[in-house]
C-alpha cells in the first residue's frame, strides 16, 4: 500500500492506493472532457498523499503526460480529433505558454486566482444551465 520514494536524499512514504485511485478518476474526467489534469493531480499528491511540493512538481507532470498521451491517441483513433482545430489550438497554447509566465510576473497571483475563481464559477453556471446561454 505504501511505497517508499527517495528524492534528493530524503525518503517519503507515498500511499499508492490513494494515488492510483485518485489518478485514475482524474484521468477519466480529464480525458473525457479534454482538459489537463494538473490542478487536480497536484493537490492529490500534496494534500491527500502528503508529499512536499518539490517532489510533486515534476512527478505529477510525468503522471499527467501518461494520461495525455493515451487519451490523445484514443481520441484520434475514435475519429474525434480535428487536425485543423488542433493546429490552431496548439499554436495558441504554445504562444500562451510564452506569454503567460511573462504576464504572471507582473501580476499578484492572489488576484489572478480570485479572478479565475469568479470566471470559472460563471462558466460552470452557464454549463449547468443556471445562467441561460443562447442555443
Amino acid at each position: 500500500m505504501y511505497m517508499k520514494i527517495e528524492f534528493w536524499g530524503q525518503e517519503f512514504k507515498a500511499n499508492m492506493v490513494i494515488g492510483c485511485i485518485g489518478g485514475f478518476l482524474i484521468a477519466v474526467a480529464s480525458s473525457m472532457f479534454g482538459f489537463g489534469g494538473g490542478p487536480f493531480v497536484v493537490p492529490l499528491m500534496t494534500v491527500l498523499m502528503g508529499l512536499p511540493m518539490y517532489v510533486v512538481v515534476g512527478s505529477s507532470l510525468l503522471a499527467i503526460f501518461f494520461n495525455t498521451l493515451m487519451a490523445s491517441s484514443r481520441h484520434f483513433g475514435l475519429g474525434n480529433t480535428d487536425l485543423v482545430l488542433f493546429a490552431f489550438m496548439a499554436a495558441g497554447a504554445i504562444i500562451g505558454g510564452f506569454l503567460g509566465p511573462q504576464i504572471a510576473k507582473r501580476l499578484n497571483p492572489l488576484w489572478v486566482k480570485r479572478v479565475a475563481v469568479v470566471g470559472l464559477t460563471i462558466l460552470a453556471l452557464m454549463l449547468i444551465g443556471v445562467i441561460p446561454t443562447p442555443r
Binding site: 473525457m32 494538473g38 480529433t81 497554447a93 506569454l99 475563481v117 452557464m126
Partner: protein, 401 residues
C-alpha cells in the same frame, strides 16, 4: 388508293395526338428547379424558384457534400419492453450542413413539433409536416451500431457490433443522428416555401456564416417518386475562412486562434491549462461538437508536457517511481475517458463539466486562503532551494563529461 391515304392520315393524326398527350402529361409531372446563382458565400441567400404540378406541396432538400461523423448512445427506456437498449449508433455519412425547406402551409405542424423544445424528434417532424418525401441524402447514410455495455466501455471498445441495418433501418436511425448533429429544429427545417396557385414556387435559404465550403446538392420533391433533377451549387470560402473537417464548419480562423492565445495565456497565468476555459467556449461560441472539442484540445498540451518532463528529468527532479506509478493508473483512465465522451450527450457533457469547474473553482478558492498561502510560500522556498541544487548538480555533471 385515296381511301388508304386518308386512313393513313387518320392513323398519323391519332398517333400524334397520343404522343402530344404523353408529352403534356410528362410536362405536368415534372418539377422545374432553378437557383439564382451557382456559387455562394457563407451568409448569402440562395434564391430557389421552380414549378410543380398545381395544387401539390413541394419540399426542397439542401445538403452539403461534406460529411461528418456523428455518434449517439440510445439510452432511452423502451416504453414497450421497459428495457434500456444501450445501443451505440455511429455514422460517418451525416451531411455537415443539412436543411429541408417546407411549404409555408405546414408552419403550424412545424411549430407544434418545435414547441416540444429538446424533446422534438426528426422522424415526427418529417411525418407531421410531410417533409419525409424530401428526406433523401441522410437516408442513404450508412449507420453502424454496437451493443454497448459497461464492461465493453471499460475495455475501451464500442461493444459488440450488431448486424448491419437494412435500408429502412438505416433511414430510421439516421434521423436521431441528424438531431444529435444539428440539435434544434430551426437548423434542419424551415417552412418558408411560397407556392402559387399555378404551381410556381419560390424559396429563400440563408446559408449560415459557418457553412462548409464545397458542393451542395438541391432536390425538390412532391412525393416519394416525383422529384426534380439534382441541382448543385458551390460555397466558396474567402481566404480568411478555414474548413474544420471533423467539426464540419468553416470559421474565420483568426477567431479561434486569438481565443486560444488569450485563454491559454490566462490559463498559464492562473496555473491551470487552457482546456478548462477553452472547451466550454469552443462549444458556446462556435457550436463545435463536444467530442471534437475534447479530441482536438487534449493533444495540444502534449508538447508542453513533454518538454516539461524532459526539463525536469535533465536536472533529476522527477521521482520516477511516483510518476510512473500514478501515471500507469492515469493511463488506464485516459484509455476509458475518450470512449465516454462519445457515449454522452452534449447536455450531459456540459452538466458534468460544469461540476468539474465548480470543484476547480473551490480548489482555487482554497488556494487564496491565508493558511494555504503561508504554507505555500514555505513550500515554494524549499522547492526553489532544491531546484537550485538540482540544477547545479546537473551542470557539474555536464562539466565532468
Amino acid at each position: 388508293m385515296k381511301g388508304y391515304f386518308l386512313l393513313l392520315l387518320f392513323v398519323i393524326f391519332l398517333c400524334s395526338n397520343y404522343v402530344f398527350a404523353q408529352e403534356e402529361q410528362a410536362q405536368v409531372d415534372k418539377i422545374i428547379l432553378n437557383l439564382d446563382k451557382q456559387v455562394y458565400r457563407g451568409g448569402e441567400v440562395v434564391k430557389i424558384t421552380g414549378k410543380v404540378p398545381p395544387g401539390r406541396p413541394v419540399y426542397i432538400e439542401i445538403a452539403s457534400e461534406k460529411k461528418v461523423q456523428v455518434g449517439r448512445l440510445d439510452a432511452r427506456r423502451d416504453p414497450d419492453t421497459g428495457k434500456i437498449p444501450y445501443i451505440f449508433y455511429l455514422s460517418k455519412d451525416i451531411p455537415a450542413l443539412y436543411m429541408i425547406l417546407m411549404p409555408k402551409e405546414v408552419e403550424s405542424a412545424y411549430n407544434i413539433e418545435k414547441a416540444k423544445d429538446k424533446d422534438w424528434s426528426v422522424s415526427r417532424m418529417l411525418l407531421t409536416t410531410g417533409a419525409d418525401v424530401a428526406y433523401i441524402t441522410p437516408a442513404k447514410a450508412k449507420v453502424e451500431r454496437w451493443q454497448a455495455s459497461i464492461l465493453a466501455t471499460i475495455l475501451g471498445s464500442r461493444g459488440t457490433k450488431l448486424e448491419p441495418l437494412d435500408e429502412k433501418g438505416n433511414r430510421r436511425q439516421s434521423m436521431p443522428l441528424i438531431k444529435t448533429r444539428f440539435r434544434w429544429p430551426e437548423r434542419v427545417f424551415s417552412p418558408t416555401i411560397k407556392i402559387n396557385e399555378d404551381g410556381t414556387f419560390e424559396a429563400e435559404y440563408r446559408l449560415p456564416e459557418n457553412a462548409p465550403g464545397g458542393t451542395y446538392t438541391v432536390i425538390a420533391a412532391v412525393d416519394y417518386t416525383l422529384r426534380s433533377e439534382v441541382q448543385t451549387f458551390k460555397v466558396d470560402l474567402p481566404w480568411y475562412k478555414v474548413y474544420f473537417p471533423k467539426a464540419g464548419v468553416s470559421l474565420n480562423a483568426i477567431g479561434p486562434f486569438l481565443l486560444a492565445v488569450a485563454v491559454c495565456t490566462f490559463g498559464v497565468t492562473m496555473g491551470a491549462g487552457g482546456g478548462f476555459i477553452l472547451n466550454p467556449l469552443l462549444i458556446f461560441i462556435y457550436g463545435i461538437p463536444h467530442t471534437i472539442v475534447a479530441g482536438s484540445v487534449m493533444p495540444t498540451v502534449l508538447f508542453s508536457q513533454a518538454s516539461g518532463v524532459y526539463n525536469y528529468s535533465r536536472i533529476k527532479f522527477i521521482s520516477w517511481k511516483l510518476g510512473v506509478g500514478v501515471g500507469l493508473a492515469m493511463m488506464v483512465g485516459g484509455f476509458i475517458g475518450p470512449k465516454l465522451t462519445e457515449m454522452i450527450t452534449l447536455e450531459q457533457y456540459k452538466f458534468l463539466f460544469g461540476w468539474v469547474l465548480i470543484i476547480l473553482a473551490a480548489i482555487m478558492l482554497w488556494q487564496t486562503t491565508p493558511g494555504y498561502i503561508a504554507k505555500n510560500q514555505k513550500e515554494q522556498a524549499i522547492l526553489k532551494e532544491f531546484r537550485r541544487r538540482a540544477e547545479e548538480a546537473a551542470a557539474k555533471k555536464r562539466e565532468k563529461k
